[in-house]
């Protein structure tokens, strides 16, 4: 099970009435429950992955936190069109480090990591429209 597969499964559920999906392969298993409790903190919300994994996988992988969008707007990976991205997959990030900008109307809203960790997935494209609660990043706790 890799992050890409998890992302594809999450995308698969969007726009459907499915509230729970369990997916298994020879080596591991994942259960995704939609509408799980989300904690909000300073504008950006975090959502713990509601995933159950086989004991062997759980032992190898650290907990992850999903950074979601606190508002509707346009997702930008860099400070400006001339700047490099704030973060790349694999980057180690610190708590309060800026991960992206969401521009809504005339507001530039910087979204920060709320934990120390490693970026394991970036779930939106630069310039993509995002909605409230859309998943943006998966951060593996350090």
């Amino acid at each position: 099970m890799n992050v890409k597969t998890v992302k594809e499964l999450i995308e698969l559920l969007k726009g459907t009435d499915v509230t729970e999906l369990e997916w298994a392969s020879e080596s591991d298993r994942i259960r995704i429950v939609r509408g799980a409790v989300a904690a909000q903190d300073r504008g950006a919300s975090h959502q713990r992955e509601s995933a159950e994994k086989s004991p062997s996988i759980a032992a190898k992988e650290k907990p992850t936190v999903t950074i979601t969008s606190p508002l509707v707007g346009t997702f930008y990976r860099s400070a400006s069109s001339e700047s490099p991205p704030f973060v790349q997959v694999g980057d180690r990030v610190k708590k309060d480090q800026v991960l992206c900008v969401i521009e809504a109307m005339k507001l530039m809203n910087e979204i920060e990591s709320h934990i120390d960790g490693i970026v394991t997935a970036i779930l939106k494209q630069d310039g993509e429209r995002v909605g409230y609660g859309d998943q943006l990043f998966i951060i593996e706790e350090a």
Partner: protein
Amino acid sequence: MTRWHLVREDRCPSLTNMEQDLSLFRSVLDGSREATFRVYNWDRPAVTIGHHQARFTPRDEGLSLPVVKRPTGGGAVLHGDDLTFSICAPENGPFPGGITGACTEISRIFARCLRDMGLDARIQGDSKSFSEICFQRSSPVELCLDGRKIMGLAMLRRSGCILVQGVIPLRVDASLASRVFGKEHGSTEGLCDRLPWLDPAELIDRLMAAFSA
């Protein structure tokens, strides 16, 4: 009670204006100031564009104007003779209620000062419209006079603090505006074009008093 740092400047170069706003914002971010309110103008016509606007080319490509990026969002603004301002404050400081609450409260302060000068300024807006040009669009919290937007606001939220940049055009060079944005440019009149008797210095005095109260 918030201790406001008030800055009143006259006409400055466009780049200096943006750098000064950012410098004040950093002073609030690092805690050396509680909140700041700065009023300024422009030493020559210039265009500011939103932080994520990739580029801006005047409609008349032969026109040479400084084009500088704002640290905030929003569309392109032609500055000439303006009442331009910036406000820096913690999110949970003098304007509680989130970003919309802050914009509403700031607009209320301006509306109150304008009403004290005998103008029927109101807060209204229309979030449905969108344009790359600031004064051709409005949001739910825009300051209007006789139904027309007179003040543009743009914002940056960083590390629990907000930077709000705003502008009230005082006198608009309609010919220049047309060369910059085309003939369909939405705002060809500034506040003093419509109300020649209005004294901008009095409005600034009232604003300074309102923010220091």
